[in-house]
């Protein structure tokens, strides 16, 4: 019997490199992007935007624009009540947080360049754009507020005079006060006076980035049905629906939000955007379906930005390399307003600066600041890349001060695999991990020792192209989030997720999920999970998502939560289906429920060859001719899963770059990463997520920056100036996985969407600095463009930028000069 059963049990779907179900329509052009919607009578809008960062609106003359043939209407904010709207912020991080009103269109004052002040409605998008140029707005310019440190000084110009300050909030975590560790003030004080300790202080800058999803945002609103329907290129259809109801006072059951095919998000489409509200208000006002689609320049200017922090880190450490304290002070630029979760983004970093290390005393102190720039909010990693960059740059800096190999310093301080579960100084409990295993594999794949030798040889030869090696050993918190934890952080919602399974009469399974993808491959991965759970063919599963009418409950996609939270809801729903099917199977088999077992999609009576498949039971309850008394003829099920803990993927990333010391050009030379993302559902998708994540993290290190001039004008307002990496800028990455299953969910999964982005940035910057530190360069702001690298080399004291003039033998001459054979466990090496 066992033999027979094995032969009939299909191979598990989980772990298979299934090609994606969702590809077909995407590779043939049969896509459903929001901008593809073409409803009869559709009107188009264009938004008139402020060219000034900070100005009072003295008047708006719409008369010329209204005369343009094809223009239906031109509305100022007051005409449609857009100035009275308060766009929502769902994360009031402190009780006394200062939150200015954020209108859908500005009424009397604009607070960033690009803020909307009027809207033109026309027969076509082209006419609307033409007419928008004819709207005359009379501005009186105010001082822009651009520098965070200046903004919080007494007497600074206020972005929002009505709230009396440019500080949004200050959020502090102190391990001494929390009881999770010692007092950092005491630790630093002790270290300052101790002979066997040093204190290292560094300032790092997280530049401002733009998510740059490839599909520009678009919204269509049809007000003509019983329900008002909004199609929008959003990551958060459910949150959007509820927030539209709360913000505009609309009955929630009269709103339907659809996120059709969504072309990337990366956090940039977690929003209740002013343009979504304006489109809705115009649709209500005109009684016609209305479309708004942004241009790329509009997107770069007005869709929310990410990062933008000044980080002051202080670490105390014993001279033999044990960290004794870490103090983190942040200034985080909110921009002109608070986004949906904007103020909470830097706060997520509070739990991640201590990273994989055992730090006895820790303090995190973040002040959020308003400036007259585009607002910042979630961007891939949201708070965790910033923290990981800070700590991983710091680990190199401290290792350098100690004269210790940077990996050895990390090894001395990280949590050992036998110490899990481990409760950190910032109070999170890491369930599983094995930093040693990931690191060992990464070092081997990278040929760390060989590259260090090559580095040394190039130094000695005085090569124009110097080699640098950078490390990042990281962890992140994924699976946002346990609802109770979010409650304790004053977040405005929970972190659960839902799934429903509807068994069709023919045995096919429709699976309705609350999370909705924008490139992650949910349809494939969830189908694999359901196929294993219910024992039905992969092809017999359909995943429904992104339409609040069918997928009526969910908290959407961000924070690497779709699998670790949403995927578990799918498992729970499948378990309920089996539970509901069991009494029916017993009835059909004329057996007692206790004698049944479920495997491979089939209930069998133990010890017999009698059995009935779940798909046959689906047909039986559809016919409903013969089923047990007292139960409903239905095996459909719905489940809600609320995680008890986050999950904690981790990994070791190693980067080698060549830096041309004559031009400052940085060329990626080798990139290896070994990530532990827990159990893998689909290795193909996991690898793809890592590749893309790496590209974005590397882009922060080398290429991208949203820069403003001294008047608050965005300089990188097109893709000519905001330089995304092309295929020619990147190399093929060597990726691999180690696996320690998460113990906090039944699939043992951890999440992978953000890992590459979080880990790679410090690895790259560490490698760039490692290549040229011996020339006297100590730091370079991101992105480390050729100009910045060249300038740093030129201005480094005593050197004219020639590698052959470098002093490679003096103390502190660079990490590369301290190479040791660490992969052989030589922990004594590394000193000069």
């Amino acid at each position: 019997m066992t033999t027979t059963e094995n032969a009939s049990t299909p191979a598990p779907e989980i772990g298979r490199d299934r090609r994606r179900k969702e590809d077909r329509r995407l590779i043939t052009g049969r896509t459903r992007w929001t901008d593809n919607q073409a409803l009869t009578g559709l009107l188009h809008i264009a938004i008139v935007r402020s060219p000034f960062a900070h100005a009072t609106i003295k008047g708006i003359d719409t008369s010329t624009a209204k005369q343009v043939p094809g223009v239906v209407a031109v509305y100022t904010a007051a005409d449609i009540g857009a100035d009275q709207v308060q766009l929502p912020c769902a994360w009031p991080i402190t009780k006394d947080m200062k939150a200015p009103q954020r209108p859908a269109l500005a009424g009397s004052r604009v607070n960033f360049a690009g803020e909307g002040v009027a809207v033109v409605v026309a027969r076509s998008a082209a006419i609307a754009k033409d007419a928008a140029e004819q709207v005359e707005v009379d501005y009186e310019e105010l001082e822009p507020v651009l520098d965070m440190e200046e903004a919080i000084k007494d007497g600074a110009t206020l972005v929002h005079p009505e709230i009396g300050t440019n500080e949004n909030a200050q959020w502090v975590f102190d391990s001494g006060e929390a009881g999770s560790g010692g007092s950092v003030a005491e630790a630093l004080q002790k270290a300052e006076s101790a002979d066997d300790q040093i204190v290292v202080r560094r300032r790092f800058r997280q530049q401002r980035l733009v998510p740059v999803f490839m599909e520009p945002r678009s919204t269509v609103v049809d007000p003509n049905a019983e329900q008002l329907t909004m199609w929008s290129s959003t990551q958060v259809p459910h949150i959007l629906k509820t927030m539209l109801a709360l913000t505009l006072g609309l009955p929630e059951h009269k709103i339907r939000v659809i996120a059709p095919d969504v072309g990337g998000g990366f956090g940039g489409k977690i929003a209740v955007a002013p343009e979504e509200v304006v489109t809705l208000l115009v649709a209500q006002k005109t009684g016609k379906p209305v479309k708004w689609t942004e241009t790329r320049s509009e997107s770069l200017l007005t869709a929310h930005h990410g990062r933008d922090q000044i980080q002051d880190l202080t670490m105390s450490v014993t001279k033999d390399g044990q960290i004794t304290g870490l103090d983190v002070k942040l200034l985080a630029d909110m921009g002109a307003y608070l986004g949906l979760v904007g103020p909470g983004v830097p706060i997520l970093g509070a739990f991640m600066f201590n990273a994989i290390y055992k730090i006895p005393a820790y303090r995190f102190d973040c002040t959020n600041v308003f400036t007259t720039k585009t607002l910042t909010d979630a961007y891939r990693g949201a708070g965790r890349p910033e923290a990981t960059f800070g700590i991983e740059r710091m680990m190199d800096e401290v290792a350098l001060e100690l004269g210790m190999e940077p990996m050895e310093f990390r090894q001395k301080n990280w949590i050992k695999h036998e110490e899990f579960p481990y409760t950190t100084v910032s109070t999170l409990t890491y369930d599983t991990g094995n930093y040693e295993a990931a690191t060992e594999q990464a070092l081997q794949m990278f040929d760390y020792d060989g590259l260090r030798r090559e580095q040394q040889e190039r130094r000695q030869r005085g090569d124009v192209k110097q080699l640098g090696i950078g490390i990042s050993t990281f962890t992140e918190m994924c699976g946002l989030a346990p609802s109770r934890v979010l409650g304790s952080l004053d977040y405005g919602a929970g972190g659960w997720e839902t799934a429903s399974i509807r068994m069709q009469p023919t045995g096919k399974a429709e699976v309705v999920v609350g999370v909705s993808p924008h490139g992650q491959g949910h349809e494939t991965a969830f189908s694999q999970i359901v196929a294993d759970q219910l024992g039905v063919p992969f092809e017999d599963v359909e995943i429904l998502h992104g339409d609040t009418q069918s997928s009526y409950k969910g908290l959407d996609t961000y924070g690497s939560r779709s699998l670790a939270v949403g995927g578990i809801a799918v498992v729970k729903a499948a378990e309920k289906v089996i539970e509901k099917a069991k009494p029916i199977a017993a009835h059909m088999l004329e057996a007692s429920e206790g004698d049944l077992e479920f495997s491979g999609g089939k209930f069998t009576v133990k010890g017999t060859d009698k059995g009935v498949g779940i798909q046959d039971i689906a047909l039986a309850v559809f016919a409903a001719h013969d089923y047990p008394e007292g139960i409903e003829p239905d095996i459909d099920a719905h489940a809600t899963f609320d995680p008890e803990n986050f999950s904690f993927p981790h990994g070791t990333h190693l980067c080698a770059v060549e830096v041309d010391t004559e031009t400052g050009f940085v060329q990626l030379y080798k990139y290896v990463c070994v990530d532990d993302v827990g159990n893998v559902i689909n290795p193909l998708i996991v690898e793809g997520q890592v590749h893309g994540g790496l590209a974005q993290g590397i882009a922060q290190a080398l290429f991208e920056e949203a820069a403003y001039d001294d008047q608050g004008t965005l300089l990188s307002g097109t893709l000519v100036d905001y330089t995304l990496p092309t295929a020619a800028d990147l190399i093929s990455f060597d990726t691999a996985n180690t696996t320690t299953a998460s113990t906090t969910n039944p699939l043992g999964v951890k999440g992978v969407g953000e890992a590459g982005t979080i880990a790679s940035t410090p690895a790259v910057v560490n490698s760039v600095l490692d290549a040229i530190r011996h020339l006297g360069v100590s730091d370079i702001d991101m992105p480390t463009t050729p100009y910045r690298v060249w300038t740093a080399i030129q201005s480094a004291s005593g050197h004219a930028g020639r590698a052959d003039e470098a002093d490679v033998a003096s103390p502190g001459a660079g990490l590369g000069s301290t190479a040791s054979d660490i992969s052989k466990g030589d922990t004594q090496g590394g000193h000069l």
Binding site: E22, G29, T31, D35, P216, G264, F266, E687, G688, T726
Partner: protein, 174 residues
């Protein structure tokens, strides 16, 4: 208004268009060919790449009137009798797409690349698709897909390479 006559994915269209109308707008707004998408306004991203008389062009950088008398091939015209073009198949097989927004342009550009260089190195592929931006994949699997397609599209390797497909278009198949 200007009158144009254009063959798109094997069908002949005659339309009056504004002289300033871009080819991509004509494809999307007049012909409903929404498989070709717009990703930027500075011709950097390549999402709108199509073939114009067999050469890849960014259709945001071509006026509709310039397509007068020409033959346009979009992502929607690549399939033959339900069979994917080898490049489409290679993108699927190699997980060379995630959100899929850049994919139509990326596929059209990759086909053009192999037309010029049937056996490109990794470096040549990366240079060849440099004008097409992808934010999801880090390009690695796209490079793999192009290599895979190249091996399958070598003369004699596959019957559905584009040269064959074009003949079908000229014959009026849609």
């Amino acid at each position: 208004m200007a009158r144009i006559r254009t063959t798109v994915d094997g069908l002949v269209y005659e339309d009056d268009v504004e002289p300033r109308m871009l080819l991509v707008q004509y494809l999307r707004e007049r012909l409903g060919k929404t498989g070709t998408v717009i990703g930027c306004d500075t011709s950097n991203c390549g999402a709108c790449t199509v073939h114009l008389d067999g050469m890849s062009v960014k259709s945001c950088s071509v006026l509709a009137v310039q397509a007068n008398g020409a033959e346009v091939l979009t992502i929607e015209g690549l399939e033959r009798d339900g069979q994917l073009h080898p490049m489409q198949q290679a993108f699927h097989d190699n997980h060379a797409l995630q959100c899929g927004y850049c994919t139509p342009g990326m596929i059209m550009q990759s086909i053009d690349l192999l037309g010029e260089n049937p056996d490109p190195s990794e470096h040549e592929i990366r240079e060849g698709i440099e004008g097409n931006l992808c934010r999801c994949t880090g390009y690695q699997n796209i490079v793999r897909a192009v290599q895979d397609a190249a091996s399958k599209m070598k003369p004699g390797a596959a019957p559905t390479a584009e040269a064959g497909a074009k003949q079908t278009v000229a014959g009026g198949g849609a």
